[in-house]
Symmetry: C2
Subunit: 660 residues, 2 copies
C-alpha cells in the first residue's frame, strides 16, 4: 500500500508532471545529437522552505550522472532545466528536489534584519548549520567552515560583523554544495530518451525501383544501372535513396501487370514477394546483380552524400527457402499446405505471412534480426519497414532495441497506414520515423490541423512524420487532377512543412495516370512491371525540386520539426505558415488551388518575430529572388500556378532581424 511505502521513506518534496514523459515513462522521447532537452516538472513542498531541484542525466552506458540545476518559473509555478544530448544512443534522466536549510535560514535572517529584529539566536542556528556542513566537507572547505561556524557563534563579536559573514555569497555557494542529500526526493521514475543521428530528423527521400533504371526500353534494370542515376539524384538535393526489396522474387503465383492474378508470360512479379530457389531476404535478385554490385551501389551513394535505405518486408513468397526449412514459422493448414495472405474475396497467393508467435519464436525473431544485421554489414543504416502494423508490436520493440544495442545509429521508418493509435504506438515502441496521412490532407484546414498535431502535441516527442508526396500505392486524386502545378504544390508543402519528406520516382515527371477513376493505384504500376523512363522528359519539375532541396539545406528553419506555426490567410486557398530558427525567419505561402491564381492578405506574426506593429521590413522569395517591401502585419500575396508560381518561401531580410 502507498501508506506503508511512504511511511518507510516519505518523500519530503512533491515532484509531479515531469516532461518529457510518455505513457508514464513506458516509452522514450526522441531527440537527435546536439539537441538540448528541456525537462520540466511541478515541484512543491509544505511550508515555505527554499527549494532546490536538478535533473541528473547520462547516456545509459555511462556510470556517472551529470547534473543540471533546475530554475523556477513563478508565473507557471514550474521548474525546468536543459541539457544537451551529445551522443547517439539511449539516455536517461531523473528529477531530484530538496528543501535547502541554509538558504531558508539565510532568507529568514535577512527578513529579520529588514524588520530590525535581534538575530542573536539566528546566528547561533546558522553556526550549527555551518558546523554540520563542515563535517560533510573535505580538505580546506572543512577547516574554513569550522572557522566560520565558530565565528558566527562568537557572541563577543559584534552582530553586524557576524551577519556580514553569514550573508557572504561564497558561503552560500559552498553550503549549497555541501547540502545534506540524505533527504533529497527523487521522482518515481527514471525516464529515457533515444538520441538518433541528425539524418533521422532531417532528410529528403527518393524512392526508386532499381529494375526500372535501365535506359533501354524493356531491359531489366540492374543495381549498376541504378548506380548510374545516383549523381543526378544527389544533384536534385536528396539525402536518402530508398530501394524497394532487391531480393529474389517468388516464381509461383506471380502477379501480371496491373496486379493481374492470372499473371503473365515472363511476369517480373512484385518485389515484395520475397524469396525463391535462388535466395532469400539476404540475397540480391540475380537480375539486379550481385552483393558486390550492391556494395558498389552503397559506396557510390555515399560518395555522392546519399544514404541508402532498404526495404524490410517480413513476408515470403511460397518459394522462399524458409518455407521448406521452417514450415513451423508459417501458418500450416490442415492439408499440410502453407496459408497464403488473403482478405476474402481477395487472395494474395504470391505471399505467405509469417507466424511470429510460433512455438519456436526466438529462432524466428533472431532470423529476422539476422537479415537486418546482414544489410547493416553491407552499409545500410536506414530501413523502411513494410506494413509493421501487421506484425507484433512486441516483435518490433525487441528487434529495434536489439539492433540499436550494437548500432544505435540505425534508422527505422514505419510504413504503416492505419488508425492513429497504432500509428502512434509504432513510433512509441521504437520506429525513428513514420509515414503519415499527409497525402490525404489537401485543404488548408486539413493541413493546419494535422501538422499542428504532429508538431505541437505530445506526438512531437516521439513521432517523426516523413511526408511522402506519393508512394507506389498512393497517387492521390489531387495529383491525378491537378496536373503539373499540383505536383509543385504538394512537393513544396512536403519539403517546407517537415524536415523529413520523400517522393517516389516518377513524381518529378508528374506521372498522374491512375489505374482507374476513383483508384489511388498507378496505371501500369512498377510494383508489377518494369518502367523505363526519360528522367528529363518535358514537363519535369527537376529544377524546382533541386531548388527547394537547396533551400532546405541552406535554411536551418526547415531542418527542425517543432518550429512550425500557421497564421491567418484571408483566402483559404492560400496556406500561410512560419518556420523559425535563430536568425532564420521564413514565411511561407502556398496556393493550394492548382487550377488558378489566388490572392490574399496574410497576417505576419510580428510580435512572435519580435517586430513592432508598424514595422517595415523586406522579405526575399528564395524561390525567385524577388524582394518585397512589407509593412505591418497584413500584407498582400498573389500566387499564379499557371505562370509556374505556386508559392513563396519568404526569408526575412537581415536588417529586420537585427532590428528585432
Amino acid at each position: 500500500m502507498v501508506t506503508n511505502e511512504t511511511s518507510r521513506n516519505p518523500p519530503r518534496v512533491i515532484i509531479e508532471r515531469v516532461q518529457p514523459e510518455i505513457d508514464a515513462g513506458r516509452h522514450p522521447a526522441k531527440r537527435v545529437v546536439g539537441d538540448s532537452v528541456e525537462v520540466s516538472a511541478d515541484i512543491y513542498k509544505d511550508g515555505h522552505d527554499v527549494l532546490g531541484a536538478r535533473v541528473v542525466h547520462r547516456p545509459v552506458e555511462e556510470s556517472t550522472w551529470h547534473a543540471a540545476e533546475m530554475a523556477y518559473d513563478r508565473d507557471e509555478d514550474r521548474w525546468s532545466a536543459t541539457f544537451v544530448v551529445d551522443r547517439v544512443g539511449d539516455w536517461e534522466f531523473r528529477v531530484e528536489a530538496w528543501a535547502d536549510p541554509f538558504a531558508t535560514w539565510r532568507r529568514g535572517l535577512s527578513k529579520k534584519l529588514d524588520a530590525k529584529l535581534d538575530v542573536a539566536s539566528e546566528l547561533l542556528e546558522g553556526a550549527t548549520l555551518v558546523a554540520a556542513a563542515a563535517k560533510r566537507a573535505r580538505g580546506s572547505d572543512r577547516t574554513d567552515l569550522r572557522v566560520v561556524a565558530e565565528r558566527l557563534a562568537q557572541t563577543d563579536v559584534p552582530q553586524a560583523e557576524r551577519v556580514a559573514l553569514a550573508l557572504e555569497d561564497p558561503l552560500a555557494t559552498r553550503m549549497a554544495g555541501l547540502r545534506d542529500r540524505r533527504h533529497d526526493t527523487k521522482y518515481d521514475r527514471t525516464l529515457t530518451i533515444v538520441v538518433d543521428r541528425e539524418r533521422a530528423r532531417f532528410a529528403a527521400w527518393y524512392e526508386m525501383f532499381p529494375r526500372s533504371q535501365s535506359r533501354e526500353e524493356g531491359r531489366h534494370g540492374t543495381l549498376a544501372d541504378a548506380e548510374q542515376r545516383l549523381p543526378e539524384i544527389s544533384a536534385l538535393g536528396f539525402d536518402v535513396v530508398y530501394l524497394p526489396p532487391i531480393h529474389p522474387i517468388g516464381e509461383h503465383f506471380r502477379k501480371g501487370p496491373n496486379n493481374d492474378p492470372r499473371g503473365a508470360p515472363d511476369a517480373v512479379g512484385s518485389p515484395w514477394a520475397i524469396g525463391s530457389a535462388v535466395g532469400c531476404h539476404k540475397s540480391v535478385h540475380p537480375k539486379l546483380g550481385t552483393i558486390e554490385d550492391f556494395d558498389r551501389f552503397v559506396a557510390t551513394a555515399e560518395r555522392h552524400g546519399l544514404e541508402v535505405a532498404l526495404d524490410f518486408a517480413l513476408q515470403c513468397s511460397p518459394d522462399h527457402p524458409w518455407v521448406k526449412e521452417h514450415p513451423e514459422w508459417f501458418f500450416v493448414r490442415p492439408d499440410g499446405t502453407i496459408a497464403y495472405a488473403e482478405n476474402p474475396p481477395k487472395k494474395y497467393q504470391d505471399i505467405v505471412p509469417i507466424n511470429f508467435w510460433t512455438d519456436d519464436r526466438q529462432a524466428l525473431w533472431d532470423a529476422c534480426k539476422d537479415i537486418v544485421d546482414f544489410w547493416i554489414a553491407h552499409g545500410v543504416k536506414t530501413f523502411r519497414v513494410d506494413n509493421p502494423h501487421t506484425k507484433p508490436f512486441a516483435f518490433w520493440e525487441w528487434l529495434i532495441g536489439e539492433v540499436k544495442k550494437d548500432h544505435p545509429g540505425v534508422v527505422f521508418l514505419s510504413e504503416a497506414f492505419t488508425r492513429p493509435k497504432p500509428m502512434k504506438g509504432l513510433a512509441k515502441i521504437g520506429f525513428s520515423q513514420s509515414y503519415t496521412y499527409f497525402t490525404w490532407r489537401n485543404s488548408a484546414h486539413e493541413l493546419e490541423e494535422y501538422l499542428t498535431e504532429l508538431t505541437h502535441t505530445e506526438m512531437a516527442e516521439y513521432f517523426r512524420g516523413n511526408l511522402f508526396t506519393n508512394t507506389p500505392d498512393i497517387l492521390h486524386e489531387y495529383l491525378q487532377r491537378g496536373g503539373r502545378p499540383a505536383f509543385l504544390v504538394r512537393h513544396l508543402l512536403a519539403a517546407t512543412l517537415s524536415p523529413l519528406y520523400g517522393i517516389y520516382s516518377g513524381y518529378e515527371l508528374c506521372e498522374n495516370a491512375a489505374l482507374r477513376l476513383g483508384s489511388e493505384e498507378y496505371l501500369d504500376s512498377e510494383k508489377y512491371e518494369i518502367r523505363t523512363r526519360d528522367w528529363n522528359a518535358p514537363g519535369n519539375i527537376n529544377a524546382e525540386i533541386r531548388l527547394v532541396n537547396r533551400i532546405r539545406h541552406e535554411n536551418p528553419a526547415l531542418q527542425h520539426p517543432r518550429n512550425l506555426t500557421f497564421h491567418l490567410s484571408e483566402n483559404e486557398q492560400i496556406l500561410f505558415y512560419r518556420r523559425s530558427a535563430p536568425r532564420n525567419e521564413l514565411l511561407i505561402a502556398v496556393n493550394l488551388n492548382p487550377f488558378r491564381a489566388e490572392e490574399t492578405m496574410v497576417h505576419v506574426p510580428l510580435h512572435e518575430i519580435g517586430l513592432p506593429d508598424d514595422a517595415s521590413y523586406v522579405v526575399e522569395d528564395l524561390l525567385t529572388g524577388a524582394r518585397y517591401a512589407w509593412h505591418g502585419a497584413r500584407n498582400y500575396v498573389r500566387l499564379d500556378p499557371t505562370s509556374n508560381q505556386v508559392g513563396h518561401v519568404l526569408r526575412l531580410a537581415e536588417p529586420a532581424l537585427e532590428a528585432a
Copy 2:
C-alpha cells in the same frame, strides 16, 4: 531494459491511456458508495484479430476479482466498461485484453462463405480450436465440445451442416468462456479508487464557535449551549455542524480582541492556540464543559440528522503539555526556548509549530494519529484539518491512510488556501474534501472558469471542492459591500453550484463589518473574543437558507458534482447554468449584481436536454413556486435583488421531460 522485459514475456495487445488514472496510478480516484465507475482505455493489436477486453475489480480486502467486459466504441477507437462500487473503502481495478482466436476464425469463416469460397480447410481448423478448448473444459462442456470438434472434422458430413454447427451462437459463447488466457495482456498498473460515504460528496456545512452560543451577553458559551442550537441548525437544513477547536487554550501570549498582540485582561484567546496545563488536543476546554458534554452534543446532533465535524489543528500553544513532555517535537532554539511561529515582522507567540521531521518522527506521528482516534471513539467521523499545507504531505498521506484502514468512512476536509498545485496535491494524497477559491470568484467569468475546472477536468476525479461562502478568516469585499442581497446571491451560488458547501455562522445574519477597509478580517472576530447573537435578528436569511437546503435535498441534480454545465446568458451580470440528473432537470439563473435588477435572455441547451428546437415547456421556480411557459432555446429572465429575488432555480416540468 524494456527490450529484455518484452522479450521475456511480450505483450500481444497494447493497452494505453487507461482512465481514471491519476499521475500514473500514484494516486487513487475518488467515488462514493453506489457510484458506477467508468473505466476506459486505448486497446489495439497488430493485424486484424477480433479483440476482447475486461476490467477486473475488487475491494482491496477481497481476494476474488469481479470482471466487467469492455465494449468497443468505433468512433473513439476506445474501449470501456462500468462497474459499481458498493462498499466504502479502497478498491482496485486492472484492465486486461486479448485476441480471440475462435471469434477471429468465425469471422473469417463467414467472410469466405459470403465470398462463396470453399471452407473445407477452415472447418478442420475450427475443429482444432474446439478440440483444444475441450481440453480446457470441464464436465459436460468437455464432452460436448469433443463431439462438436469431431463433427466439424467429419469430411463425409455435408459442409452446410458443419458450417451451421460452427456458427451456432451458443458455441461462440462457450468458446469465449474457454479462451486460452495464457497470452492475455494485463495493463502495466493496477489502479485504485477510494470510495467514501455519500456525505463526503453531498453535505451543507454550518460552522460555529461553541463559546459564542450562550444566549446571555458576555457569558462564555458551553457545549450544552451549542447543543441547544442543534435543532434550529438542523431545521435550517444543514447536514454537518463544524466546531473550531474545543480544547484548552494556552495562557501565555493570548491575543486580545481583534488580534491584539498585547492581549487583554481576561482575553479568551484563540481556539487554535491549543493546549494548556489543563489539557491537550484530546481534552475539552473546561469552560466549554466535559467530554461527557461533548458526547451528549454528538448524540443530540445525530438525533437531528447532523454530523459533527471537529477541527484538527496540529500546532500547540507554548503551554501545551507536549512542549514539556516532548520538546524534541518542536524547534528548540540555541537558548533552549521553543521557537514560536513567525513571519517577520509578524510574531505568533501564542503558537509553537511542530517539527514533523524530528528524529523521533514515528512517535510524534503516532501521537497525532492518537488524537484522531480519540475523537473518532467519541463519535466524530469528519475532521476539518487546519492549514494542512504547512505540514508534510507525506505525513497526511500516512495519517489518512492509517486512519482509514480502521475507519474507511472518516472524512477529512483540507483547509488549505495556497497555490493550485499544492491544493490539488493535498486532495490527491487523501483529503476527502477541500476548501476552494470560491470566495474570490465573484464574476460570471470567474465562476464559470473555476467551476468548470473543478467539475470537468481531471480534478473532478480526486478534488471535492467544499464551497464556503465565508470563514472566520474570509469576509469578502463582495459581502462587505453588497448587503443582504449579496449574502443571498453567494449562498444560492454555493448551494447550487456544488453538492458540498458551507457557511460560517453570522452569515445568516448578513454580518459584514470588516476589521478595516481592504481587509477580509471580521471586525471583533470570534477568533479572539466571544460573540453572542440573536439568531433571529431582523434581516436574517434563515428562511432563504432553509428553502435552498430543502431544494438541495429534494433534487438529485444538486447532489452530484459533475453534472454542472454553463450556458449563454446575454447579460454577464446573470449567470446561467444547468444541473442535470435522470428526470431532474434544473436551470439556474443568478443575478450577480446585488445592487439592482438585471434582465437577460438565457439560452437553454435544448439538445442536451433532449428537446426539439421549437419545444414549448414549463419551468417551475422552486424558490417561489412560480411557473413559466418557455419556448425554444432563448428565454427571458429578470431578477430584482431589491425585491428579494436574486435567482431562479427552475425545474423543468415533468411533461417536457416525458416528451424528451
